[in-house]
Symmetry: none
Subunit: 407 residues, 2 copies
């Protein structure tokens, strides 16, 4: 651990202004909880984040940010001006949840626990970003860099990180962002410094189809699909860098006495390493080609041959932030100073995009506890002391990365 | 070939009344085509034959049959009284198709071809039965036996022959039927005298499920399913007696980023030989056991192991009608007299049920050509001369089996 970074965090933590900010995080705690509930109860299904985005846009404006706007892809954002040279860091939380339209998102409170789909992943973080702004303003904290606070769309599943991808690739701030922190889910026990890349595709085999008895002997897309799934299951992948595959969903066929006309499987490939992911992807495509050739050679193509179509469902770039990068060291030191012992991990988050571009990026926690993310039983704990400790760690990290301007 | 049977068919063919019937089959041809189109365009998915059954019931009534009714299982039927001692023969065609609800059943006509799902299997036969009734009536043909014309349900797939099973086992005519002819699909090149037995089951593998990346390494029911399908595809079966297998429908999984909790496949096993069917069934069950053991040995069972459940979807009895039975000899002679050279074959049809009960039963063709049954590309050819020749063979068979009463 670099002593410089530990020292800088200690300086921030001891600073009178930061102490005012800490007090404000505490005294504002009920308001933060109220914001969590308000935002959680505005549904934000995949590709349908707009209602929540509008509400969050109004909140960002009410918090006195500049250049508050919604971009072309749906992200909402506002700038907190720095004192300095205009370099920019982004602090983001994602608007979308995994839950489809119609999911009951009413928050149920039991003691210090809040239960609702999406409450922790990632709605709490949206409210925490607002608490950070209020605390900094109350304390008169000025940073060297500008901070762009973003509520982004499309982090989950088929959203494919489209919000942050747009921000970095096509948005008005594209090319101007020097560091990226996503606050995603409550857990304080890990800082994400590796972006697990993924490739997801749907592989659909088609054939002529026919009567199961009369047409017996013709090619059957089911055997091609089964070959792919069986061979996928035999691929050897390294434990480090962690690399995984999954046959996730299959379908095909309509009648028990018919050779089906199609059969498909959706697969999910992931790796912490771009190279391993590319190898896995290549092997999969080989297997698919093998499956087609094999089935067309094994059975009759007199009525037609097996064909295949591979449709991309998602593609997230792999990447990583060096463990000795300032952003990682500051976040680690801040986390430890607030009483946590975080591990450095790899995961798939909005930070994948800047990581893949070589821009320093991490994921940190929003504080407090939580569990059952992506299930209807999702919950968070908003017990005050653990929640505020988490927020202190987060705010100290942001201030350190953005540079505290003294006086 | 018995000269008696050839002689009897020749007598029928030469009979002035039968010549009138033949003329009527020809002059009615456009009406028969219209009936094929009308009936084909009324969907009759498995277990949802009711709309077509109602329409066919009205048609049977309009054709002047007696005791027109729908039985408890859904078959519709009507009696054409014979002159004689009241013994009964059944002439049937099945109402159901293999196609699920929502399938486009619009008939497309190109020259003499009609394209539509179910058009040949077995909708054409329903219209041909009506043509037979009109032709016999126009010619004043009287038969010794009563003829029950039946549009039956549940011939296909999971229907498991439930319509004809009910007719023979539980219906009001149960125990009174002396012979059975099913008119099923256009092909005139074979007469079915053997009932192919079948076993159909749904094999469902279950596992713990989990996150595709975080829980990677746990058992996945998809690989067990794929093993079964891939190994099924490798089984060697004899050409004679014809023995077949088919992986027909698969499913499982809900999210691309989750190891699924289940995966299932429906398979169809058939054989002309009860012994070969039993062997195939045994091998399948071995493969299923192998698949479970293999997956539980290959990946981690820390979160739970793979289990399997085999559910029987259908079981059709094998059976046969002796090749020297009157019904076979008459149908063969009639077919030859009309210019065809039919082979005697085994298949899985409604005739399996009476065959398994020792009641003489055959399947004959409805005439004309056709192909791609059980696929969306199904078609029939309604070119007049081939169509009428086929109908002449069918009607002569029926009249011979029912006994032509002269004068």
């Amino acid at each position: 651990m670099s002593q410089d970074h530990v020292q800088e965090i200690a300086t921030i933590m001891r600073h009178p202004a930061f102490k005012v900010a800490i007090d404000r995080l505490g005294s504002d705690h009920e308001r933060t909880i109220a914001d969590i509930i308000t935002l959680t109860e505005i549904p934000a299904p995949p590709f349908k984040e707009d209602r929540r985005a509008s509400a969050y846009l109004a909140m960002l404006r009410a918090h006195g940010l500049e250049d508050v706007e919604q971009d072309e892809i749906g992200n909402v954002m506002g700038l907190r001006r720095g004192a300095g040279n205009g370099t920019l860091i982004v602090v983001a939380a994602h608007l979308d949840t995994v839950f489809p339209e119609g999911t009951d998102v009413t928050v149920r409170r039991e003691g210090t626990r809040l239960y609702a789909p999406g409450v922790g992943d990632d709605t709490r973080s949206l409210a925490v970003l607002l608490a950070f702004i209020r605390a900094m303003d109350a304390a008169g904290i000025r940073t060297r860099n500008d901070i762009l606070f973003v509520g982004d769309v499309g982090e989950e599943g088929l959203g494919d990180l489209r919000g942050i991808r747009h921000l970095f690739m096509n948005g008005r701030y594209s090319g101007k962002i020097d560091a990226f922190i996503t606050v995603d889910s409550p857990q304080m026990d890990k800082i994400v410094v590796g972006g697990v890349g993924s490739k997801r595709y749907s592989i659909r085999f088609k054939g002529p189809g026919g009567h199961s008895f009369k047409a017996f002997g013709i090619v059957n897309p089911m055997y091609a699909m089964a070959h792919v799934v069986a061979e996928l299951g035999r691929i050897e992948v390294p434990e480090t860098p962690r690399t995984t595959f999954c046959a996730s969903i299959v379908g095909g066929g309509t009648s028990v006495n018919a050779v089906p006309e199609d059969s498909w499987v959706d697969i999910d490939l992931r790796s912490e390493s771009a190279e391993e992911l590319a190898k896995l992807d290549l092997r999969c495509r080989e297997i698919v080609a093998e499956a087609v050739a094999r089935e067309n050679a094994t059975r009759s193509i007199s009525e037609g041959a097996i064909s295949v179509e591979i449709r991309t469902l998602g593609e997230r770039p792999a990447g990583s932030t060096p463990k000795d990068a300032d952003i990682v060291r500051y976040a680690t030191a801040a986390s430890q100073a607030a009483g946590f012992t975080p591990r450095l991990e790899a995961s798939s988050t909005d930070a994948n995009i800047p990581m893949s571009l070589g821009i320093p990026a991490i994921r940190i926690g929003s504080g407090g506890a939580g569990g059952r993310a992506h299930s209807l039983g999702e919950w968070i704990d908003v017990e005050k002391s653990a929640s505020v400790s988490g927020m202190i760690a987060g705010l100290a990290s942001i201030v350190a990365v953005a540079g505290l301007v003294d006086g």
